[in-house]
Symmetry: C2
């Protein structure tokens, strides 16, 4: 491996920069090449030019390396809900947040597709994805409570929001899809309203 060869160059500091990014990159490459289970943390670290131990300093486990971006997404959702105009209905505030998140994801479509391909191929990763989505739902519910929304409306609205998001996301990653993400969010929300409006 040439990676270790270039490590001590007079131009660089002691360590090559962006260890976290290199680990992310190495991980997704290997997960795509061989699959998640067939990839060893030692292999990821080696490709990134680091020790196995270092991987676990950046990511609590082998799965978490794929979910690093979810914190930023959560902040965006929360701030959008919090900043909605006074008097905005809970579900409308949540819808605005989802549209903002969708717009953000759209900027990294290729990466999102790769990431999703890896996740859908592995049950352990699907579990992790679900708990991340659940965390987003809980965070939005919190934000709604800050706006004075009561239980169980806050929790219910957060969860419904995630349902809408998942539905829109599915359409968005479809190869045949032409619509943009925020647009798909609005469409999913409309469909949800039809589903729940029955007697």
């Amino acid at each position: 491996m040439s990676l270790t060869v270039i490590k001590y160059d007079r131009v660089m500091g002691r360590w090559e920069p962006n260890a976290l990014g290199r680990l992310q990159q190495a991980a997704i490459e290997l997960y795509l090449e061989r699959g998640f289970e067939q990839t060893t943390v030692a292999e990821i670290a080696k490709r990134a030019g680091l020790a196995e131990r270092t991987f676990f300093r950046y990511f609590v486990d082998k799965r978490e390396v794929l979910f690093w971006g979810s914190a930023a997404l959560q902040e965006l959702l929360v701030s959008t809900v919090v900043d909605a105009p006074i008097g905005t209905a809970p579900l409308v505030a949540v819808a605005a947040a989802l549209e903002a998140a969708g717009a953000l994801l759209q900027e990294r479509r290729e990466g999102a597709l790769q990431r999703q391909a890896v996740i859908e191929a592995n049950p352990e990763l699907r579990e992790r994805e679900l708990i991340k989505l659940s965390s987003l739902s809980a965070a939005m519910a919190d934000a709604l409570r800050q706006r004075g929304v009561n239980e169980p409306t806050a929790t219910l609205t957060g969860e419904v929001g995630i349902v809408v998001f998942k539905s829109a996301f599915e359409h968005w990653i479809s190869p045949s899809n032409q619509q943009d993400f925020p647009q798909l969010i609005r469409a999913s929300l409309d469909e949800l309203r039809e589903v729940t409006s029955g007697n």
Copy 2:
């Protein structure tokens, strides 16, 4: 340990019966006593009078032992959706299924409370619970498709159903709760409809 002492009794067959049940019992006891992470599969097996290897013949992993009942729940949900009268609205069929499932859970309230206490205390177990719920949602969506319901209505209705179920379950678990489960399902569904009926 006296367990091994009684293993070869002239009354019994070669093995003590109900190995699966003994493993479940031992597992939940230990998870309650020491917590999930602090419990070793070897300890569970020992308490059940079996070898560690045998545990993994009954359960694919250390978590699965807590979710053995979800298959029966899924069957009940599916058959109830499938058997709903012709012309029943998708969400109404799903609501009927959830009420049936709720009624079933009610028969084992103590066990359900213990199990939930263990799950809520551990993130890994919460992950597993979420994917089980997701599987229930997918199964109901399948059942709806059998009834001629199209996408994305089928998927959306399944997921909304699980949202309703979770909300009702939370209330049902509460020590102050007096209402019965099917009743709580109807109440949660009403709240959901209010959430989504806005402009």
